[in-house]
């Protein structure tokens, strides 16, 4: 094998492995949360550790019972906002930009109901402090 071919093979393999390791580094956290009615919000009790320096957080809804839908954002352990808000939808990953959480810190999902939502509900979702 020529040196050039070896070099290209090495670079390609390195990139593939690097990409795989970045994808593996970030993870989903599955959580359920009781969201109050009339514009209430609740923070998940489970956290997700930020693994990369991604500027967005990811949310994916599993069970979203209310018709008005929900929004979510990433918050830190003091429940202070760490990202912009994003809509949460069933089986669709949405991204909240402006993720200011630093690597190796815990992120939680804060889920909001609509101000005109008359029912409280149990929401099940998975979220990540990184871009998925």
């Amino acid at each position: 094998m020529k040196i050039r071919t070896k070099f290209i093979t090495f670079i390609t393999t390195a990139f593939i492995l690097l990409g795989t390791s970045v994808a593996l580094a970030s993870s989903w956290t599955i959580s359920s949360v009781h969201v109050p009615a009339w514009g209430g919000s609740a923070v998940t009790s489970e956290a997700n550790v930020k693994a990369t320096n991604s500027s967005s957080a990811s949310f994916n809804g599993d069970v979203l019972p209310n018709s008005f839908g929900y929004t979510a954002r990433l918050v830190d352990s003091n429940h202070a906002s760490r990202s912009n808000t994003a809509g949460v939808y069933v089986d669709k990953t949405t991204h909240a930009s402006g993720n200011t959480l630093t690597i190796n810190h815990y992120g939680y999902a804060k889920v909001y109901s609509s101000n005109v939502e008359p029912n409280s509900s149990y929401v099940k979702l998975h979220f990540s402090s990184d871009s998925k």
Binding site: G39, P65, F68, Y89, G98, S114, N115
Partner: protein, 274 residues
């Protein structure tokens, strides 16, 4: 333009600006823990969007949906119920001219006041959160796809300000058209709140009961949803991601509410106007 109680209106405007400023700042404080701990990367523009519509602070949301009749149109309804409008009709020469002037005045005042509310909130968001980095915001627009007006964040903001003002004007005239049928002026003050709740709860309830997921059904129910009209391009109804951009439901809601308003004006003119 028809002018009623200029002094009272100025006091009302000052009080409402103060209320909006305070509640917007309080909302930021709640979301970020304290204003001194707002991260440098936090987006002022996103915070502005989060103060709009049914997912914002309850204090802001219920103010915006209840304030509509108080801005101007209650003067028209009070004048109608106390027969004071007869003097103005006599002075202006015809009933048609009076009605046209009343509608135009309502359009100008409602649109102008609501646009000033939005601009005030935008300024407060920029001052207390962070200045807007439109390049970064444009990069982040892809996260909001497909429910946006434009991929360019400046254009998207401009479209939001203009279209939400148009939506407010249409809704304000819709409330006015309902108010024409009311004999009690005090009852009219509650119509903004009541109609907003009706046009929020009914489409949401029907969408839930009928388990609407398809494109046409979702577009229809989003079109009759009041949030789509007054805060377009921000939130959709339902648990499923929208498959359309923000233009379709907005035009649908303009068509629906304009048609409803037109029909109500026609009925009132034909059967009720003396």
């Amino acid at each position: 333009m028809l002018t009623f109680n200029r002094k009272k209106r100025i006091i009302f405007l000052i009080c409402s600006y103060l209320y909006i400023s305070i509640t917007t700042i309080l909302y930021a404080k709640t979301e970020f823990g304290s204003l001194s701990s707002v991260p440098k990367e936090a987006s002022g523009l996103d915070f502005f969007y989060s103060t709009q519509g049914s997912f914002s602070s309850a204090l802001l949301f219920f103010f915006f949906i209840s304030v509509m009749p108080f801005i101007y149109s209650h003067n028209i309804i009070s004048a109608k119920n106390s027969n004071f409008n007869n003097f103005m009709i006599t002075r202006l020469g015809s009933k048609k001219t009076y009605q046209l002037k009343a509608i135009i005045s309502n359009v100008v005042y409602s649109g102008g006041v609501f646009l000033s509310y939005r601009i005030l909130q935008l300024v407060i968001s920029v001052v207390i959160i962070n200045p807007i980095d439109f390049k970064e915001e444009t990069r982040n627009m892809m996260y909001r796809l497909p429910y946006i007006f434009s991929m360019n964040s400046i254009l998207n903001l401009l479209f939001y300000l203009i279209l939400s003002t148009i939506g407010v004007i249409i809704f304000s005239n819709f409330i006015l058209s309902i108010g024409l049928f009311l004999k009690n002026s005090v009852l009219y003050y509650a119509t903004g709140l009541i109609l907003s709740l009706i046009f929020s709860l009914v489409p949401a309830m029907l969408m839930g009961i009928l388990n609407i997921k398809d494109f046409v059904g979702s577009l229809f129910f989003n079109s009759i949803y009041i949030d789509t009209l007054v805060t377009p391009g921000l939130h959709t109804l339902g648990a499923y991601a929208p498959k359309f951009n923000a233009w379709y439901p907005f035009f649908g809601s303009i068509l629906f509410f304009s048609l409803l308003t037109f029909i109500l004006y026609k009925i009132w003119n034909r059967f009720y106007a003396e």
